[in-house]
């Protein structure tokens, strides 16, 4: 599989995306813009989760945990020093004085998430299949418990509110582009190939001499970095952050996106993120109108079950659409085939 005219294709895609962002900001109302922002953040989350889940078969439910880490770090760094004194009086002096702009705070938040991924990755990634899933779910719960109890830094269950509303569509767009670009490069570089090899058959890949642990950890850490960044963007979009924001339901929705998109497919994950966010946003007013809370989750859960039963390879399989890549004709079939 080789990229088709990537040199030209990506700039065109980015330019048209930027044009779209410009037009939307000019003509759309705030409500729709916020939804579009959510779409973008979910794309970052789904595509970065796909890096770990889809490419390597590592089934992590810990993504919202990394989001929480990135979100809180960014929020504490960005929060105006004057207001910090009121809201978080017990914060250590050196931290209370910080007042960072968005971009470096996002990056540092992402790095913190990545660092934690690195630390927990070494032991936890040795686990297989659903044991790993449960362990990462445990990680998510532990992160939440810690945040709830580190009141000095986080105000505990109250969370931090009144965060400056810094996230806008340009920032989200920038990070969507970076996430997709990095994932794309990884998927089509040798690292990506070895990741896919691990997904298909861990034992065989090991025999081929791929440093299994290293590849797994790399995928996990990169995925965590983007989740951390998305957490920061998210916090400064909704302008509040609480431990309960990063729920198991969120872990579930992210997994749904990857499954619907077809594990391993970047385009699929991105499209599924768009689709799912829009479905939720459309169902929400309906839910409120009917007073039937829970109905959107029910519909999504049933939809997911239907996909698992009737289209187990996801809506898009693990390949990318044919206009983006050209396939060498191989009799064994490429990753999409088997």
């Amino acid at each position: 599989m080789e990229l088709k005219n990537t040199k030209l294709f990506f700039p065109i895609l980015i330019a048209s995306g930027a044009l779209l962002v410009f037009l939307m900001r000019a003509f759309m109302n705030d409500y729709i813009l916020i939804i579009v922002n959510f779409v973008g953040i979910n794309i970052i989350l789904a595509v970065s989760l796909n890096l770990t889940n889809g490419f390597t078969g590592l089934f992590s439910l810990g993504h919202p945990g990394f989001m929480a880490v990135g979100g809180y770090v960014a929020a504490i760094l960005i929060f105006p020093a004057a207001r910090k004194e009121m809201l978080l009086p017990e914060l250590p002096r050196w931290l209370a004085m910080q007042q960072w702009p968005l971009l470096p705070a996002l990056i540092l938040g992402g790095l913190c998430a990545a660092l934690i991924a690195l630390i927990i990755g070494f032991p936890v990634l040795r686990l297989k299949g659903h044991y790993l899933a449960v362990a990462t779910l445990g990680f998510l719960i532990i992160v939440r418990v810690l945040i709830t109890n580190m009141e000095k830094y986080t105000r505990g269950p109250l969370g931090l509110n009144g965060l400056p509303s810094l996230t806008n569509l340009w920032w989200v767009f920038l990070w969507v582009v970076i996430t997709i670009y990095v994932s794309w490069k990884i998927k089509h570089a040798s690292l990506g190939r070895s990741m896919l090899a691990i997904r298909e058959n861990a034992m065989a890949a090991e025999c081929l001499g791929i440093a299994l642990a290293k590849t797994r950890i790399t995928a996990f850490v990169i995925g965590a970095f983007f989740a951390g960044v998305a957490g920061g963007l998210w916090a400064h979009l909704v302008t509040a952050i609480t431990p309960t924001s990063f729920s198991i339901l969120m872990a579930f929705s992210l997994v749904v996106m990857v499954v619907i998109g077809g594990t391993g497919s970047i385009t699929g994950a991105a499209l599924a993120a768009i689709l799912l966010t829009l479905v939720v946003e459309i169902l929400r007013p309906l839910e409120e109108f009917l007073g039937a809370y829970g109905i959107s989750e029910i519909i999504i859960a049933i939809g997911l079950l239907a996909i698992l039963i009737f289209r187990p390879r996801g809506l898009f399989g693990s390949s990318e659409p044919s206009f983006l890549v050209k396939r060498k004709k191989t009799p064994q079939g490429s990753e999409a085939g088997i």
Binding site: G57, F59, P123, V124, R126, L127, G129, H130, Y131, A133, V134, A135, L137, G138, F139, I141, I142, V145, L146, T148, N149, N201, M203, A204, I248, L249, F252, V255, V256, V259, A292, Y293, G294, I295, E297, I298, I300, A301, I302, L304, L305, L308, I309, P312
Partner: protein, 296 residues
């Protein structure tokens, strides 16, 4: 101090009993299908709501127990039939995601019907009465929970160890295809595992409601996860292991809260899940589990 300790032990026993009862179903389903069934905990919730409804309807208590048991059995069978049977043979992760979807489905159906507000749960007065054993004061309910769990567990061991169907269950758990070659109808065995496991979980829901006095549609998630941890401690697939794991977890949790300084208490769940991760890493087969052969 020793009185305090004794009371903590009773609490541990109660908590452990409930974990153990839920863990049995978890481990049975895992043993046969290698499926981690996240929706198992939500049967606990269904059991709790069913109990509340029946108590409000003023049915006699033995009938309530029977009906709750049947509600659990029915739910287990329906879930297996509708969701898990069609994806049998798919990769393990598919089953796991499906169970997550069912869990979300059940929780939100609960929210839709009962709203997310916690409801007060009550039992007839004679179960709330307080009795003294030596110097320890307990409720009749607490004793009922401990005794009922014990009886159910003994019945389970008898079923699995001595009956023909129990033998078939053990054989199916060890090797599904060879069990089929023996003429065992594995569809029935799987259905039975779901039925028994879910029936027990529903009974556990009844106990959970009685113990904590409040129920809401999301209450099943935590016992579900803890039951999973209990099953892992005991060795997933082993029924006696699940019981043992349930009690160990119950006591460990109570000791963590009861014996350490109060400032540690909020970290209870972090402790439990930390414990899980450590056990998965150093003792993946649990206390009584068998080593699983690695497949390519």
């Amino acid at each position: 101090m020793s009185l305090y300790f004794a009371e903590q032990m009773v609490n541990g026993l109660i908590l452990g009993s409930m974990y153990a009862i839920v863990a049995i179903g978890f481990t049975m389903i895992y043993g046969i299908l290698r499926l981690i069934n996240f929706a198992h905990g939500d049967i606990v919730m269904i059991g709790a709501f069913a109990t509340l409804g029946l108590v409000i309807a003023r049915l006699p208590f033995p009938i309530i127990i029977l009906v709750v048991l049947l509600v659990g059995v029915f739910m287990g069978i329906v879930i297996e039939r509708v969701a898990f049977r069609p994806i049998r043979g798919a990769p393990q992760v598919t089953g796991f995601i499906a169970s997550l979807a069912i869990s979300i489905l059940l929780q939100n159906t609960g929210i839709l019907i009962f709203t997310a507000q916690p409801r007060n749960f009550f039992f007839p007065d004679y179960l709330q009465r307080i009795v003294n054993i030596g110097q320890i004061t307990v409720r009749v309910l607490d004793i009922t929970i401990i005794v009922t769990s014990l009886v159910l567990m003994i019945l389970m061991v008898i079923l699995v160890r001595t009956t023909r169907i129990g033998m078939a269950m053990r054989a199916t758990a060890e090797n599904l295809n060879v069990a089929r070659l023996m003429g065992i109808k594995i569809d029935r065995i799987i259905m039975l595992a779901f039925a028994i496991g879910s029936g027990l979980a529903a009974i556990a829901g009844m106990m959970w409601g009685g113990k904590y006095g409040q129920i809401d549609p999301l209450l099943g998630f935590v016992p579900g996860l803890k039951a999973f941890i209990a099953a892992v401690i005991g060795g997933v697939g082993s029924i006696t292991g699940a019981m043992l794991g349930g009690y160990i977890l119950g006591f460990a949790e109570i000791l963590f809260v009861g014996l350490l300084p109060p400032s540690f208490s909020p970290y209870r769940d972090a402790f439990v899940f930390g414990l899980l991760i450590i056990i998965l890493l150093i003792l993946p087969t649990g206390l009584l589990g068998r080593k699983e052969e690695e497949r390519a």
